[in-house]
């Protein structure tokens, strides 16, 4: 039986995908990093609730999803604009920052933000979290068929929304 520190070390290997997943919920990488760290702190606090070691990845993503939903709801990312202004002040001409503030990027982000929660969960876990349909089904406790249908609906909705904004 592994102890909690060993399990945490194994979970740390998923930090990049957790960061990607959190990035889908917010508009900039700084907020995503904060959410990722919060996710790991919660995981550390609740490590004793992890029973099935084979499904630790799904368990971690479930925590990440709940953390993101709570944080976004609570804070409404009030400091988002301030941070963006800081970034522009620091180095407004860098290509990465130009990418973040490009029209197409903002349209895409808006479309993802406007998705219903059920579709957004599946979409972000698949596209940003790089989870398989089986893993998503396990993390969200739904059937694989439901995952696939929600994923298709999410993609269609995003594309429609993006076209509408053009």
């Amino acid at each position: 039986m592994k102890n909690s520190s060993q399990v945490m070390e194994e979970l740390m290997d998923y930090s990049n995908v957790v960061f990607r997943f959190c990035l889908g919920f917010v508009r900039n990488p700084w907020d995503a990093e904060e959410l990722m760290q919060e996710t790991y702190l919660r995981a550390l606090k609740n490590i004793h609730t992890l029973r099935d070691m084979k499904r630790k990845k799904e368990w971690l993503f479930r925590i990440a999803r709940n953390t993101c939903l709570n944080m976004v709801k609570r804070r409404k990312m009030y400091d988002l604009r301030l941070r963006e202004m800081d970034v522009q002040r620091e180095n407004p001409d860098s290509p990465e920052r130009q990418m973040i503030h490009s029209e197409q990027h903002l349209r895409f982000k808006d479309s993802v933000q406007n998705l219903p929660t059920k579709l957004k969960d599946v979409f972000l876990l698949k596209e940003y979290g790089l989870l398989t349909c089986g893993e998503i089904a396990s993390a969200l406790r739904i059937k694989e068929g439901t995952v696939m249908s929600r994923l298709n609906r999410a993609r269609e909705t995003i594309l429609e929304h993006m076209k509408e904004q053009l």
């Binding site: 930090s15 990607r20 702190l41 990465e96 990027h105």
Partner: protein
Amino acid sequence: MTKNPKDDASQIADCVKKDTQAAFDILSEKELRIRLEKRMEHELRNRPPQGLFRLKWSWAFAGALTFFLLVTIPLFILKDSAGEHKAHTAIKNFLQGTPGVQSLKEWRELNRMVLSVKREAEPSFIRQMRRSYDQTQREGLTTPSVVLDQTGKDSGGDSDTSEKLGRMIRERSIYRFLSKYSKHFEEEKNG
């Protein structure tokens, strides 16, 4: 015209790729990992100690039960055996020193003295009556019992005995009257 789902998926995958790429260009994977590890270490160092309330309910219950068995019950036993006596003597000592109790004691002594003086000051004829009554009672006990008629005379026995008995009855009624009177007198005098 039908939509090709593969095109949709690839279009979205492109957007996601650009988004994540831009984010990782700003915050590199290494930096992210290092900062995460630092924060985790900091949190682990500053973690508060696990109190009783953080334990599982079964452990908390077991702890409370052990405390009860080892501390509370022995305290109860000690109190039953020695505590009561100790408390009693402590209260007694405390009360003995108080002025109220002292004055009560003095008052009792004074009362006793007054009563004895009163008894001494009792009228001499009452005292004599009491003495003679006691004597006649003692004598009466030794003499045989006699049946008297309504006037107090012997229906047909020894004349000395009947006289004696008649005197006894009279003395007794006088004594009763006098003692009752003296009591009444004393009460009036005392108010």
